[in-house]
Amino acid sequence: MSLFRPARTVTTPSGEYWELYVSKTVLPEWREGRPGSHEADTWPVAAGLLELPLALVEAIWSGLVRPLLRVAVLLPGAWLSGRRSRAIRIEALRPYPSRRVLLWTTTEGQVDGVLEEIAAGLAEGRVVQPVGAVYSGQTG
């Protein structure tokens, strides 16, 4: 069971490639800030010269550093909470042509059978809803 290595890979009859991930951890959402929220017109002329480097720093901060810090802070809690639970998430990821993620939630006792059923369904080009799992549809 790993967040970073697929438990199965499946190719549908139409050639779509899916990776199935099984984990107990709900990864914190990657949430970017909104750069350039200041009003440029209100800045004095001298400050205007600094606008470009400041905008660059702000873009890196809100687009990369801040979301990364957020994930780093929330990840241990998410991991611990997953360790205590007997619930298992199965995510099917289609990376291309457009990213698509489907989510099922099941329990430790059902995970093997449910994973088999999902993989077999996708191999036939179907999204199945196994009895031992709750299908939440598309996420992310």
Binding site: A87, Q110, V131, G132, V134, S136
Partner: protein
Amino acid sequence: MSDSPYDLVDDLPPGAGRVAAWSAYALQTYGDKVMAHPGGSYEARDEARAVADACHTLAVDCVRCARSPEGEGGLPGRLPRWRTPLRDAEQLRGMREALEALRIHIAYDLERRGGDEAPGAELRTELAHVDERLAKVELLWIERPPPELRGGIGDALVTGLDRAYALGQRLASG
């Protein structure tokens, strides 16, 4: 004749009066189980109280209906609904206990009725659908279920309760 919904259903012969008495029994059972497991938060308990109150009020109406000469009066078409979609784990326990209680009553009635005639077979098929809902709940039942599982368990219980309620009415009609 008893005024308690728990006894009345067994006192009446098949027909309109017994259908009303079954409805009262199902509503009383659901209301009591919901009240016994109202949930953890203030909001959850508040909502549980509203559902239980609705059940108990409707149960009284159904008893009145069952005791009337021809069993006249409108019966609720289904059990009262919750305002919000997600139940907490304790509320799910109450709903599950209610469904198990209704299922036992229906299975006992079906057994007592006996016979292999077509209506009986149809009713048994319907009971199998209720059992499927209970089996799904059993498969998903864990301690501290996350919202996704609670949603799935809640949906299975609501469907099962609705089917059991309707099946009990059909069975009581004779």
